[in-house]
Symmetry: C2
Subunit: 733 residues, 2 copies
């Protein structure tokens, strides 16, 4: 079947659908040359197809965010919001880098990135579909299918990671129709070279998040460091800056309206090929519940941190994360309300089913494909609410640290290769890093309040999906008032537990199974008590995913075959792997009689300034704007300094920090957000209104040069500073 799909893909790439839709594999670019040329790419797309050539070789992943090398000495450009964890990690109440920003005057002043931070340089991507699919036994059930695929992936990864300093991953495409292995150099000494104050880097904050017009200087600079031998190494004084083979040159002249742009990065996840019923479930159940729940959690954080600046700082990243998810869920609901996504999907499925039934061969092959998938999904929807409620548990340390520790202890009883993914030696650094970072962002009062809410939400679920072990632990026997019982239980637990000490939590990572099982710490006991249940949930989930890995490729196969008849083209859903999307710098019409222009200006930024967060533009910036002191970074076209710009490229979460490059492969900005109208683009692409938001490279250069006196960084990236004569005044008043 795989061969057929590839044939279909090649055919379809020659067709046309919506404008700039598509998160393409670099390898696909030569096949959509006509579209690229139509968008304004004058050079051959072949130069973009090879992952290890320029400019693709300059693109890196930060794991969750995208980035790019912009100097021969390993300087990495990404978003301020991607470096937020690091900025926060290095901040204290007295020396708050969030509010003050940070500039390393020299390389030895660069600050360590947050634990677990990585720069991942892709060196190879190979098709491993045959190897993965051939491992599945005939007539495998869900669990067997899942296990076989995981086992095959694990073996592929283990073989690949035999090379020291490399990290490998197997990604699945088209719902499990294709598999590819990605081999990445894993640089683990990452340092912060520059971050603007949040009054620039986070200007507009949650108010402006997803919004246009936008004025956010959402960029920061990391540097990748390696051992003296040029290979990845743990952070050490003798380390040296990494010398990447490729780095992006900076286009100091930026872009103009209608210019061709590409965005290269690692979009996280899209669901463009989901069934109408899945979209409906998201609209009618999942997102509304999410909105209600997260609103409540945010209220809890606000309430519990009120008047306690340290607690506020500790939960700033979590609040920001939740706010982002919340606003996205709300935007999705608003977007779906305006769109005909479900109706279009239903129509397509009706046509597809008709087309299948119209032919005996097709009927034999795919006749039950959709019903089969629908049946699997319905079972899954039943437990969706519970999975949603438990989604935050990983961030609640009194729960997460012992649960993770005990699981690790149990997994360690197995040989490394037999352990579950995420619990192997290769995962330990990341786990440690995450928990170490979390340890600094902890406040028992807030942790307890949120955990209490999670438990209360669980107690309100129907009995059929509630976890008996948790009910028992909390003493919920159907008689007592759950809220009161939970509150009193948690009060005792937090009072008695030694895990409120961050060191005690971190120590659990290395503790033995026997330590956990003998412990009198209530949270450790909770972890042990919940262990069988959590394993069972995981097994259920794996069985479900195994069933999906059977059903989705069948539906996708039918859909691809059908779409060939309609001439639609196809690109795989985002899955965290390197993708290229292209389009043009362009505004849009958000509603009747209203046009959004593609560039915002420094004056527009100043016009929003109120002096109060998130519109607390630095005085120094406002003064420079009042003097229109833009130097060479001014855009003649818009008669001002461009701050952000819009383009029609197709991006999603994970693309944050992605390099925005012009047709010559030069850096013209950084992707950092989508617009409000594109909120449902994870599910459905709307060419007229789907836009991505970029910070303009000219604004980045101006901030570095005129506002923050970072001339040495400019010189490193090959840009001559224009403002050396400006006397350094007090910064960021």
């Amino acid at each position: 079947m795989r061969v057929m799909i590839f044939v279909l893909l090649s055919l379809m790439w020659c067709g046309f659908t919506g404008a700039d839709e598509g998160m393409w594999l670099p390898e696909q670019l030569p096949q959509i040359g006509e579209r690229l040329a139509a968008a304004g790419l004058e050079t051959s797309p072949g130069s973009f197809a090879n992952l290890t050539d320029h400019p693709m070789g300059a693109i890196v992943s930060l794991g969750g965010c995208s980035a790019s090398f912009i100097s021969p000495d390993g300087l990495v450009a990404t978003n301020h919001h991607c470096a937020l964890g690091t900025i926060q990690f290095n901040s204290t109440a007295e020396n708050n880098l969030l509010t003050d920003g940070f500039l390393a005057g020299s390389r030895d002043q660069e600050l360590p990135a947050a634990p677990g931070a990585r720069v991942l340089v892709t060196v190879r991507a190979d098709d491993v579909t045959d190897r993965v699919l051939s491992s599945i036994p005939p007539d495998a059930d869900g669990t067997a299918r899942f296990t076989a695929i995981e086992q095959a992936k694990k073996e592929l990864i283990a073989a690949c990671e035999k090379t020291a300093g490399h990290r490998c991953d197997v990604a699945s495409f088209f719902g499990g129709s294709l598999f590819r292995i990605y081999d990445q150099l894993e640089i683990r000494d990452v340092r912060l070279a520059y971050a603007p104050p949040s009054s620039i880097g986070k200007y507009g904050g949650d108010v402006d998040n997803w919004m246009w017009p936008r004025h956010t200087g959402d960029f920061s600079l990391y540097r990748a460091w390696v051992g003296p031998d040029g290979q990845p190494a743990d952070p050490a004084p003798e380390n040296v800056p990494f010398k990447p083979e490729h780095w992006l040159r900076v286009a100091t002249d930026g872009v103009a309206e209608n210019d061709f742009v590409m965005v290269v990065g690692f979009p996280g996840r899209t669901n463009r090929y989901r069934l109408a019923s899945e979209v409906e479930h998201a609209i009618e159940t999942e997102y509304p519940q999410q909105v209600e729940r997260l609103t409540k959690i945010l209220e809890i954080i606000d309430h519990e941190t009120e008047g306690r600046p340290e607690a506020m700082v500790a939960y700033a990243a979590m609040s920001s994360y939740i706010n982002n998810v919340l606003k996205k869920s709300q935007g999705m609901l608003a977007g779906f309300a305006r769109s005909d996504s479900v109706a279009r999907k239903q129509a397509l499925e009706t046509d597809l089913v008709e087309w299948i039934h119209a032919d005996a061969d097709r009927e034999a092959r795919w006749g039950d494909a959709l019903p089969q998938l629908e049946t699997f999904l319905e079972e899954h929807f039943a437990t969706g609410r519970r999975d949603q409620i438990f989604g935050l548990l990983g961030y609640l340390q009194m729960w997460a640290a012992p649960a993770k520790g005990y699981r690790l202890a149990r997994e360690r009883e197995l040989p490394d290769s037999e352990r579950s993914p995420g619990y192997q030696e290769r995962d330990m650094a990341k786990t440690r890093g995450f928990l170490a970072m979390m340890a600094r962002n902890f406040d028992a009062q807030v942790d307890r309040a949120i955990l209490g809410q999670v438990f209360e939400d669980h107690a309100a679920l129907p009995e059929s999906v509630r976890l008996e072990a948790l009910d028992q632990w909390l003493g919920l026997d159907g008689e007592v008032d759950p809220a009161k019982a939970i509150a009193s239980r948690l009060e005792t637990m937090y009072a008695e537990s030694r895990l409120v000490d961050p060191e005690a939590r971190l120590a659990l990572l290395d503790a033995e199974r026997s330590f956990f099982e003998a412990s009198d710490d209530p949270f450790v006991q909770l972890a042990v008590a919940m262990y069988p249940t959590l394993l069972k949930l995981e097994a259920d989930k794996e069985a479900f995913e195994g069933r999906l890995l059977e059903a989705r490729p069948r539906v996708m196969g039918a859909l691809l075959a059908y779409q060939q008849t309609t001439g639609s083209e196809i690109y795989p859903d985002a899955n965290g792997t390197l993708r290229v999307t292209f389009g043009n710098v362009t505004g849009y019409v958000p509603r009747d009689a209203t046009v959004y222009l593609p560039f915002t200006t420094a004056e527009g930024m100043a016009a929003k300034a109120t002096g109060v967060t998130p519109f607390d533009a630095p005085t120094r910036t406002l003064e420079a704007i009042a003097e229109k002191d833009y130097g060479p970074y001014v855009s003649e076209e818009i008669g001002s300094l461009p701050v952000n710009f819009l383009s029609s490229v197709d991006t999603t979460g994970g693309n944050s920090g992605s390099a925005t490059i012009d047709a010559d492969g030069r850096l013209v900005g950084l992707l950092f957000d989508g617009n409000w109208e594109s909120m449902i683009s994870d599910w459905d692409f709307l060419p007229k209104v789907t836009r991505s938001i970029h910070v303009d490279v000219r604004y980045m250069l101006w901030v570095l040069d005129r506002i923050d006196d970072a001339g040495h960084l400019l010189e490193e990236i090959g840009v001559a500073p224009a403002f050396r004569e400006v006397p350094p005044g007090p910064r960021h008043q």
Copy 2:
């Protein structure tokens, strides 16, 4: 001095300042021919200068709103919101013209306008400055000056109104530098021919009020009726439609972007020449207090009418009025916060004072002009809060009816010519009409709640400005809790008073002084008790106005002389007299990277529809839009049916209902609102963002033709109906 001012005026009219700023007297147009030509007027402006020629002769006042004749049989076009009182007056719970709209199938089905409704046709405007100013005795104080001017005006008006069916008014220009008398034919049989349902005529309601993009079909049609002799007459069956000398032809092809447009109407009041200190007082004290107070009153109305549809209908107009004032005050504050109005005015005043001091003659003439005006104003500001609180008393009938009645009874003891303005025989019809209309919009519970709030606000004033007589009447001796004392006093009063009966209130208009003074009705007793205090307030106000009438012309004289040196041009502040403003159909930039286009479309209207007021577009309209069934009213330029459009003309309240005409004098729309950014245009004109909002004549025609089957009205205005074949379905579902 007057001659000098006129010379200055002629000089300044040749200069240029902001784009389309200016509410010009028609007579001024020939003097600003260059500006008109620059805006795109190709014909000679002379044709617009004569009040009684076409097209000016077609423009009429409704008293508070503007309108125009659009047929030889006296059909009058104005805004739906200008006809709201009439629509409401003819509505009952069973037959609600607000929700259903109204169409007279034939002329004899037309409904009477609300009592007091008038169509005023200007027939003459003469300069009477010499006559007025020469009446002021030498060394007159404020009261003497005010009285002399009022007396002169009264005599002029009395002489003018000797002609039956005429109504005259003397208006003051440039703060009392110039006076003109306006002679108007007063047509007093006014009938409603057509009103759309509020789901068209008030679409967007208070949510969209002042907003762009806008989709309001804010138009209605009246007809002027006269006696069989063609002269104004009381409503009577034998009356015939008025045959105006001039009426506007309808431009079925409408306007396009950048087209020249004029708006002709009766703008109410602007303060473009106020001092910086007056603007500051408005920003810092007056508007913030207004916002707080009106918000409270609206809450009271909402609360007291909850669940009582009849009370809701009764207070719909008042709520709408208060909402409008409230939103305007809020917009003013927002607008001032974004503008540099005060700084610019201060700079101008600094320059002016410097210029005065630089010359001994000027110093002698104007050296103390500004300080004198500032002194007068400061005294006035002290009582501003009280005046604001009492501003609503005229709408509270239990207070207003006996107060008005007793005042009338006292005034009637004087010969008609000696009575105060507003209490002469000539004013009686209007007074009666107003009170009769108010009588239908009354609910004792709401009246009492608002009156209680007014009294409470009064009780919270500093003692220096509180009215002793009111304190006494309410038993506020400084010991009792004012809120409780007022509530208990009002409870008794409403329970005891016969005035809760509308007939009893109306009867007070004809009652004798002795009736009031012997009455045991508590509200009548309150009116008698407050009478001396209210007279004293009026006398104080007149003395203040008299002082202003001395000081303002001096400051204006200095300003005009100074502005001559800077080349600025000058037009008088709006004062309710006929004005012409011109400009172009054009959008604007409300903020960075955002452009508002000048036309909204039917599809944009449909996109706002939610089914819930104020976005409850009629099903029939939505269906026609879904079919793009626009007939000849479609605009090729925008590819749709235009609903509203923006222009750069300079308008204000009172302009509502004004004809928007093209360079050929044809009707292309009706002015009905200003945009949010123009909110402070009463004080300061901002050429880049000050815009007026018009309902497009093509939308009016389409609604009449396609939606409401008013073919006979279309034929009357010379437009061939295009939708005769559409079967009349159920209207406005």
